[in-house]
C-alpha cells in the first residue's frame, strides 16, 4: 500500500498538480487513492456516475464511444502525465465516454464527491483545482476541434466507373460492291464523261 505521504509525493511529481501549495495538497491526499488497471479494464463508463478522476502515472487510457455493431471508436488517448476524467466536476456528474486501459495503467484516483465537498468548504482549494482543470478542458476542446478538421488532408480516392447497359444499335450493312471499287468506278466514269 502506498502511504499518504507517498501519495502526496506522487501528486507533487505529476505535472497536473505540480507546484501546488502543501496545505492544499494535503487536502487532495485525503480524497486520493493509488490504482492499477490491467489492459482492457475500464476506468469509467459512459453514463455512469463520474465518481473519480485520474492522474495517469504510467500507461495509456483510451477514451472511447461504443458503437453498436462496430468496434468502439477511440476519440483520444491519455498518456503518462495527463488527466483522465472531468465529468466529476460538471453536473450531473456522469461520465460522457468510456475510458479503457490499453495495457497496464497506473494512476492516482480522486474521489469526486469527497473533493467537491472540500472544494465547497475551502474556496482556495476550489480555485486551485479549477485553475488546473479549466485549461486542461480547454486544451481537450481545441484538440477535439483540430481533430475534426482532417488536418492532414483526405486521401485521394479513385472514382469508380459505373457500368451501363445500352440498347443495341442498328448495324451498317454492306452492299455488294466495295467502296473502293465504287470510287474507282465513279472516277473512271467521270473521266469517260468529261
Amino acid at each position: 500500500m502506498v502511504k499518504p505521504d507517498d501519495l502526496g509525493k506522487i501528486i507533487d511529481e505529476h505535472p497536473f498538480f505540480q507546484g501546488i501549495d502543501d496545505t492544499l495538497r494535503a487536502l487532495l491526499v485525503g480524497c486520493a487513492a493509488n490504482e492499477r488497471y490491467e489492459a482492457g479494464q475500464f476506468l469509467f463508463r459512459e453514463g455512469q456516475e463520474a465518481a473519480k478522476f485520474y492522474l495517469v502515472r504510467a500507461g495509456t487510457v483510451a477514451v472511447e464511444i461504443d458503437v453498436p455493431g462496430k468496434q468502439p471508436i477511440v476519440i483520444e488517448t491519455i498518456g503518462e502525465g495527463e488527466v483522465a476524467g472531468w465529468s466529476w466536476i460538471v453536473e450531473p456528474y456522469r461520465s460522457t465516454f468510456d475510458a479503457r486501459a490499453i495495457g497496464l495503467v497506473r494512476a492516482i484516483s480522486f474521489d469526486g464527491k469527497c473533493l467537491r465537498k472540500k472544494m465547497a468548504a475551502d474556496p482556495a482549494l476550489g480555485y486551485e483545482v479549477l485553475r488546473r482543470f479549466v485549461p486542461m478542458m480547454a486544451h481537450r476542446l481545441s484538440s477535439a476541434r483540430l481533430q475534426m478538421l482532417d488536418l492532414y488532408g483526405p486521401s485521394a480516392k479513385p472514382e469508380k466507373v459505373k457500368k451501363a447497359k445500352v440498347k443495341a444499335a442498328g448495324k451498317t450493312k454492306g452492299t455488294n460492291r466495295s467502296p473502293a471499287a465504287r470510287l474507282a468506278k465513279a472516277a473512271k466514269k467521270s473521266k469517260k464523261d468529261s
Partner: protein, 258 residues
Amino acid sequence: MAERKRPKLAVWKFSSCDGCQLSLLDCEDELLALTEEVRISYFLEATRKIEKGPYDVSLVEGSITTPHDVKAIREVRRQSKALITIGACATAGGIQALRNFKSVKEFIRCVYAHPEYIDTLTTSTAISDHVSVDFELRGCPISKHQLLEVLNAYLNGRKPNVPRHSECIECKANGIVCRMVAAGTPCLGPVTQAGCGSLCTGKDRGCFGCFGPMETPNTAALAAHLKELGCSGRDVQRLFRSYNANAEAFRKESETHG
C-alpha cells in the same frame, strides 16, 4: 511503340443549333489524326454507325428542354466515364433559356395552343442542372482549339489549359486595345470567361459574353459602369441576357435591371 487503347468517344445532342458539335468536324487539320487516337462510337451528325456504350468520353451539346431530355441525359451520364458539356446551351441553357424569364402564364398560353403535339418544359437548363458533369467547355459556339485542347489533355492525362479568368487578360495578351476604355464601347469582357481569342474586340465591337461568366464576376460593378457609358437599364439587361442568360451571375444581374 505500344498501341495506346483508343478511348470511345460519343457526341450527344440536346436542344441546340448543332454548331458546337460541328466544331469537331471543323477541326479539319486534326480530325483524321484525332480518329486515330479516339474511336468515334456515337456521333449522329457524322456517322450512322452506332456502337454500344459505355463510352470513355461523352461530349454533350445542347440544353435540357423536354421531359424526354431529362431522362435521356441521365442515360448518357450512366454510359459515360467522362462527361464533357460543350457550349453555352449545355453549360448554361443557351439562348433558348430566354424562355425562363417569361411569365409562366404567357408561356403556358404558347405551349398549350397545341398541347397534343408539343412536349416541352417551361425552362431550358444546363446539363449540370440534371447530372454531374466532369468538365464544362464554354462558348457560343465553343472554340475548336479549346475542344481539341480538352480532348488532348484527356488523352495525355493532363489538366486542360482552359482558363477561367476574364476575357480582358486574353485581350491584353493578344495586344488588343480595350474597346471600352479607348472607344467607350459597352463590353462584357471584364466579367466574361476568356477563350474565344478576343474575337469581338478584335473586330472593334464589345464582348457580348458568349463564353459566359468568368470565375468571380463582379457584374454589379460592370453594370454600374455600363450605365455611366450611357446604357439604359434595359440595355444592361439585354447585354446580360443573351447566350448565357441563365448562367447564375448573368441571370442575377439581368434581374436587377430592365
